[in-house]
């Protein structure tokens, strides 16, 4: 009897020890930061999504009216969702194709030039994204850099600005570093020995790529894919500036709800849905690919 009580006390003490252990105390600032900077806004947005439409009654009212409005068959906002996801998926695909050769070069071929070349890819990040996009507008616009230059030789530039293609181009351009660097990191973690060993044991270049290089670089590639997908789905400037609102993406709808329409509850409901869709897709992708297996931890 006394023994059982002693054990209960011991486990109680263990629990308290864990809560106030050195590790937990060191992590406290991070917990506070996450709670204040990440969790609180999220909770607020979720709360707003359940507030009376066109009000600021978060936490004081509860209604599903905002969601009902979105799922109303007459509402075409699903088109914006579809555009956002389709554009992001396409951008990620193009980024994969564009970034892989560059990443391969940075990891294996360029040698001591790799540092300088990576710097060139980082450089545009020092300039605001909007300004860079307006730069491209000046480049592509009728009478702009491209059109004007071609004009000298009696040609005229095709009308590419304010199209879906221009939006896609903007996304690929802006998010290239976010695909390139995780990918490069992934590729450079593949030991050269393994590639040589595979080649020594009869593997062709294609077989090496499929059997060794790609699976081992996959963690880096996946991180790049996730980063770029999430960023592209959340992108708003490309569709507005380069796309010229030829299509409306979901982020644009959310922005309109929060600003011009002053309907925060509707904007919040859209934001929550976007988070759920992106989160669901992301988890589905990660769930299908076993990172532990790829990293050889199992």
């Amino acid at each position: 009897m006394a023994n059982v009580q002693g054990m209960a006390e011991a486990t109680g003490a263990g629990w308290r020890d864990r809560l106030f252990s050195a590790g937990a105390r060191c992590a406290l600032p991070v917990y506070v930061l996450l709670a204040a900077g990440f969790l609180a806004p999220l909770v607020t947005v979720v709360a707003f999504s359940f507030a009376t439409p066109r009000s600021f009654d978060a936490f004081r009212s509860f209604t599903l009216a905002n969601y009902a409005a979105i799922f109303d068959p007459a509402n075409t906002v699903w088109l914006s969702f579809a555009w956002s996801i389709a554009l992001a998926a396409t951008a990620v695909l193009i980024l994969l194709l564009v970034a892989y050769p560059i990443a391969y070069g940075l990891a294996r071929v360029f040698g001591r030039w790799a540092g300088l070349i990576s710097l060139l890819f980082v450089f545009p990040l020092f300039v605001s994204e909007n300004i860079r996009l307006y730069g491209w507008v000046l480049f592509f616009i009728r009478g702009g850099v491209l059109d004007g230059t071609l004009g000298y030789v009696g040609l005229s530039a095709p009308d590419v600005l304010y199209t879906v293609g221009a939006t896609l181009f903007g996304m690929v351009y802006v998010y290239l570093p976010f695909m390139l660097f995780p990918m490069t990191l992934g590729l450079s973690t593949v030991p050269r020995d393994l590639i040589e060993a595979a080649r020594d044991m009869g593997a062709s270049r294609l077989q090496i790529w499929r059997e060794i290089e790609l699976p081992l670089a996959m963690p880096g590639v996946l991180i790049g894919v996730l980063l770029c997908f999430v960023l592209s789905v959340g992108a708003v400037a490309e569709a507005k500036i380069l796309g010229g609102q030829s299509i409306i993406v979901i982020t644009h709808d959310i922005e309109i709800a929060f600003t011009y329409a002053q309907n925060w509850p509707l904007g919040s409901a859209l934001a929550v849905l976007l988070m759920l869709v992106v989160g669901g897709l992301t988890l589905a992708v990660i769930g299908r690919i076993d990172l532990d297996r790829i990293l050889g931890r199992r």
């Binding site: 393994l194 060993a197 595979a198 044991m201 009869g202 062709s204």
Partner: protein, 367 residues
């Protein structure tokens, strides 16, 4: 010309049968201004276990990489079964290299690793599995390991997986780049013998490189000692041990006593005014080195005599298990003496001792 004698014809047929599997002539490779491999000639008969030993940086790894096709030779020819294979890429060479790191694929299971070369050849999955399991049994890997990830295998097990994978490729020649160097001493000793047994069982040609002559001694049919990109001596372990071609090989063999000596007018040899005279067995040039292995150097006095003697002070003594080692300071030299523990009667440290050897136990090297 008359017809060759029957005996000669037989000898010729014999030579044909023993046509070397691998013949290297004038292999050279430069990295910038440094000659990593500087003209290597070597003939390897089929089924031999040849070990190339040398200190780090002697070019042995580069030589092996050239043989495997991972590096292009700057000069020379690699002839495999009578065909020059210089331009054959590694994936089309019938050779396989076991890397120092083993280069096992961390994202694959033991079974997938072993089956890799078979899969690359387009062997059916069922046949891959049968052969892999067969090789696992040959390497004495537990059957249950087939589905285990290689990263969860121990050092010795990974060694066996790498070997099984190399055999799955079924190469004519297997190359080994110090695959045992990362293992602890006991396991290394065990695997050395295992590798020699596997060589005997399979009858394949093995070319092994290591910086440890001890390792080479245990396993090899022949040893090639390499220095600064060149091969300085090739021979059986016995030949290398008993008649090293030069001082480098003698010293590479392990701890030896080397005395630089010169012939005196009276025909005896002396190191300098204080050291000598020494007798040398047989005819020897006027200048060279007397090499005495520690086990042939003994502490004299108390009835024990020796042909050649040096007086000194016992610097320190070391227990090597079954043997004792002593270091004796004579002038500015430290002489190494080893005796069996049973025979040893350790003198006091810093006491005066006389060490000696008989001329027939010493080597005379002129280079």
């Amino acid at each position: 010309m008359t017809r060759p004698e029957p005996a000669l014809a037989l000898a010729a047929a014999d030579a044909m049968a023993r046509e070397p599997i691998l013949r290297l002539s004038g292999i050279a490779k430069r990295f910038g201004t440094v000659a990593a491999v500087d003209g290597v000639d070597l003939v390897v008969p089929e089924g031999e276990f040849l070990t190339i030993v040398g200190p780090s940086g002697c070019g042995k790894t580069t030589l092996l990489r050239i043989l495997a096709g991972l590096e292009q030779p700057g000069d020379g020819a690699i002839v495999l079964r009578g065909q020059v294979i210089n331009d054959l890429p590694p994936n089309r060479r019938p050779t396989c290299l076991v890397f120092q790191s083993l280069a096992l694929f961390p994202h694959k299971t033991v079974g997938e690793n072993i089956a890799f070369p078979l899969k690359m050849k387009g062997v059916s999955p069922a046949a891959c599995e049968t052969r892999s399991r067969e090789l696992m049994r040959m390497m004495r890997l537990p059957d249950a390991y087939f589905t285990r990830n290689v990263t969860r295998c121990s050092g010795g097990e990974r060694q066996r997986v790498a070997l099984a994978r190399a055999f799955a490729y079924d190469p004519d020649v297997l190359f080994f780049d110090e695959p045992l160097s990362a293992l602890d001493y006991k396991l290394k000793k065990l695997l050395e013998k295992e590798l020699k047994d596997i060589h005997k069982e399979t009858g394949k040609t093995f070319i092994y490189i290591t910086h440890s002559l001890e390792e080479a001694m245990v396993m090899s049919d022949r040893i090639a000692v390499m220095r600064s990109g060149r091969i300085v001596q090739v021979g059986t372990p016995e030949e290398i041990y008993t008649s090293p071609a030069n001082r480098f090989v003698a010293e590479f063999m392990g701890e030896v006593n080397v005395l630089a000596v010169r012939r005196r007018p009276d025909g005896l040899y002396a190191a300098d005014e204080t050291l000598g005279p020494f007798r040398v067995a047989g005819a020897a040039p006027s200048e060279g080195y007397i090499v005495v292995r520690p086990e042939f150097l003994r502490i004299v006095g108390d009835g024990a005599e020796a042909e050649n003697v040096i007086a000194g002070k016992l610097y320190n003594s070391y227990s090597l298990g079954s043997r004792m080692q002593y270091r004796v300071r004579a002038g500015d030299r430290l002489l190494i003496v080893e005796q069996s523990r049973a025979a040893a009667a350790t003198p006091q440290i810093d006491s005066d001792v006389v060490v000696g050897w008989d001329s027939r136990d010493a080597l005379f090297i002129d280079d």
